[in-house]
């Protein structure tokens, strides 16, 4: 069926190598989904790893003001009142993971995972159509490619107003087709260029001085590249982390690399190994200094790249060609600083923490729990405080890798690149709109463990839930197995004063840190 579609038929199958035939991609990376009226195809804020092509029927994008969060199955982080907190002093159970099981049956709204087999759905589609500004996606429309390739959250909710048939293509398939089919590559790049590139480039400092015409020329010539694997956590967990080289020390630079998503390591040869100088995240650039020097000193001969850049798992970059920079950008900027100057003034011992943190991929964490073991008296007040604020169940373990006297405990780090959120079938794990905290909606979690298996740091724990009588809740309808839920640190969402673990530490040993700030702080 799919091979007969004009979008697939138009692909030149001969351009694909024998090891990666087009029909193989269609067979293994594509599938056909049938949606009923009200079914949600993608949900605003979700992280996804696939794009979609409308094969039959129409889909609807919910525009302004947007579908209410509770209809999308999100947690509403209401501030917990004083009376409720007082009541919890007595209500916290000694039995682990007690739930009000009746609540699952009382839920209203989308969520349908308990009552409908397939995904989530919206109940009152006519009301949504009446209250929302909507855009219709017709047959043949490709969507979701930005989130799939760029590792960014879905920007809007798309649902079926009437029954529709949609092709879903995994990011790997999309990447391979783009690699070998010029037309698909052009189409997807044009979509990105039209949708998000300009606003993204506008945030880059060195482009702030260019005119609108020059800006359009820059945007037109940008190239989009992806390195590493989207599901890097799988190889990382197996102890064989991927770190593909993007550009090597000694190469001649042909463009400025701007990191769009993910992380990259900048390193140089040092002895028989490689020394990390810094790491780059979204918005950071690589190669600017060398390119600028080459432009300013056209007769110089030693203008190769001085450092190697490699993808820490997965990285999505925009390459701005050197000719474009020379024509439109360099005349408008001052000579850039060498970003590695500070790094080279430090000795390797001072950077050992950064090397360790990058090897462990901790640069991903925005709220990593770091414990200074020289201050920690192992009293577990942090664990007790966590349990006291989560119904008697601690949401982290006071153990984890130690470097020098810093322990990174097994608590959710609320990652910049939350791989745990990819593939959640009900969208139960999501980022809160208020603070960016990664939360799990217990009501819509179906216990599939996709998030727990994806987390590179083992910070999500699957637990068997119990009813108020302390009896394990069994899935009597289907498997006969205990019902499981995913649990993790929620940064005490809805409770005043921030994470209870930090407030409970009498010795100022425990803190929640962004690793980039933390590394700089420890050097100070």
């Amino acid at each position: 069926m799919l091979m007969a579609r004009p979008e697939i038929r138009s692909i030149d199958a001969g351009a694909f190598p024998n090891t990666l035939p087009l029909d193989g991609i269609v067979r293994y990376d594509m599938r056909v989904n049938r949606y009923r009226a009200g079914d949600i195809v993608v949900r605003e804020g979700d992280y996804g790893n696939s794009a979609f092509l409308v094969l039959q029927g129409e889909l609807v994008i919910a525009g302004s003001p947007g579908i209410p969060a509770e209809q999308l199955g999100r947690i509403q982080t209401h501030r917990e009142g004083t009376f409720r907190r007082v009541a919890n002093l007595w209500r916290n159970s000694w039995v682990p993971e007690v739930r009000d099981v009746d609540r699952y049956g009382r839920r209203t709204g989308d969520q349908g995972s308990q009552t409908r087999k397939r995904g989530a759905y919206l109940q009152d589609v006519p009301a949504i159509m009446r209250d929302q500004d909507t855009i219709t996606l017709n047959e043949g429309t490709l969507f979701g490619e930005l989130a799939a390739l760029g590792r960014v959250p879905r920007s809007s909710t798309i649902f079926a107003e009437r029954p529709a048939i949609v092709m879903e293509i995994r990011w790997q398939g999309l990447r391979d087709i783009m690699k070998f089919d010029h037309e698909w590559r052009r189409k997807i790049n044009d979509l990105y260029r039209g949708a998000a590139l300009r606003s993204y480039l506008r945030q880059i400092d060195i482009l702030s001085g260019v005119s609108n015409e020059q800006f359009s020329a820059i945007a037109k010539h940008c190239l989009f590249e992806t390195y590493g694997t989207f599901d890097w956590s799988a190889t990382f967990r197996r102890g064989k982390p991927d770190e593909p080289i993007i550009a090597s020390e000694g190469d001649y630079p042909d463009g400025l690399l701007v990191i769009r998503a993910g992380f990259a390591r900048v390193s140089m040869r040092y002895g028989k190994g490689r020394r990390t100088l810094t790491y780059l995240g979204a918005g950071d650039m690589y190669g600017l200094d060398e390119l600028y020097q080459a432009w300013e000193n056209p007769n110089a001969t030693n203008l190769q790249l001085r450092y190697t850049i490699s993808a820490l798992g997965y990285v999505d970059v925009i390459r701005i060609p050197v000719t474009v920079l020379e024509e439109h950008v360099f005349p408008t900027i001052k000579e850039p600083d060498d970003p590695s100057t500070g790094a080279l003034q430090r000795n390797v011992a001072e950077d050992a923490l950064m090397e360790w943190a990058l090897d462990k991929r901790y640069m991903n964490g925005t709220q990593s729990m770091v414990i200074d073991m020289d201050k920690c008296i192992r009293c577990d007040d942090c664990v007790r405080a966590c349990a006291a604020t989560h119904g008697g169940n601690p949401r982290f373990r006071r153990e984890g890798p130690i470097f020098d006297h810093w322990m990174v405990a097994n608590a959710c780090m609320h990652c910049k690149d939350p791989v745990c959120m990819i593939g959640c079938p009900t969208g139960a794990i999501h980022r809160s709109i208020e603070g960016g905290t990664v939360l799990i909606n217990d009501d819509t979690c179906i216990g599939c463990a996709t998030c727990a298996n994806s987390c590179p740091y083992n910070n999500i724990v699957m637990v068997s839930i119990r009813n108020r009588q302390g009896v394990a809740v069994i899935d009597t309808a289907e498997s006969g197995q205990p019902i499981q839920k995913a649990t993790k640190c929620d940064l005490c969402a809805g409770r005043p004063g921030g994470p209870a673990c930090v407030r409970a530490c009498p010795h100022d040993a425990l803190s929640r840190v962004d690793f980039r700030d933390f590394h700089v702080g420890t050097m100070d």
Partner: protein, 271 residues
Amino acid sequence: MINLAHRLIVPLILSVAVFGALWILNERAAKELGDPAIVTGWFLFGTILFLGAYNVRKKLAAFNVGPARVWLAMHIAGGLLAVTLFLFHTGTLWPTGVYEQILATLFWIVTFTGFFGVAVIVTYPRRLTDSGVEIIFEEIPGEVYSIRERAEAEVVACTEKYGESTLADHYVDTLDWYFRRPRFYINHLVGGIGPEAWIRSHGDAVRRYLSADETPFLDRLLALAKQKTAIDRQYACQDIMRKWLVAHVPLSVALIGISVWHLILVYVYAK
């Protein structure tokens, strides 16, 4: 240590201010022919209640009652203030009268355990970190058992492979004692190297009777003993970091209770 000292600056200044206020009130009471002991007594009792409130704060994790690190600094400074107030109130280290002596005994024990606690929290975390091993206290028995099993497996393997019971006999006579449970508790607490010396001497004692083939088994056994030494150090230090509270907290509750009775007696008989 430096961090704690920094955190103590403001609470200590506050304590001095409280003591200054008490001094003024005390002088005024003395000039007005009042009862200065009542003033100092209430200040002392208030301070003791405040110190007790730190333990209540631990139960209120869900409430935004201020960071525990601030509470601890206030608790330590408040403890120093309480000692000063106690001396000011009683005018002696050891009062006369049985009831007062019970009260003073409790006060000094709580004070001593408090000072001991401060010494513990300043000293032992660093010592534990330097041991190079980190283990949750409750997991220590399991880890000791695991090390012992591996040690016994080495001994059995050596005996089975070479048909000699020299190492096994030595293990049963000496090393088994070491692997059986955490040892050298006090030595670990004072930072001694007793365990290392013990292992070395008992290892050396049997080495000369072993063949070249058996020696690697002894080396692996001693490596396991070294591993257990680190676990023992964790056990001793973590244990003392918990146990001092077992004396400090209940006795402080008793002190508050007896102080209340002391107040009642004072008001009943002072009239």
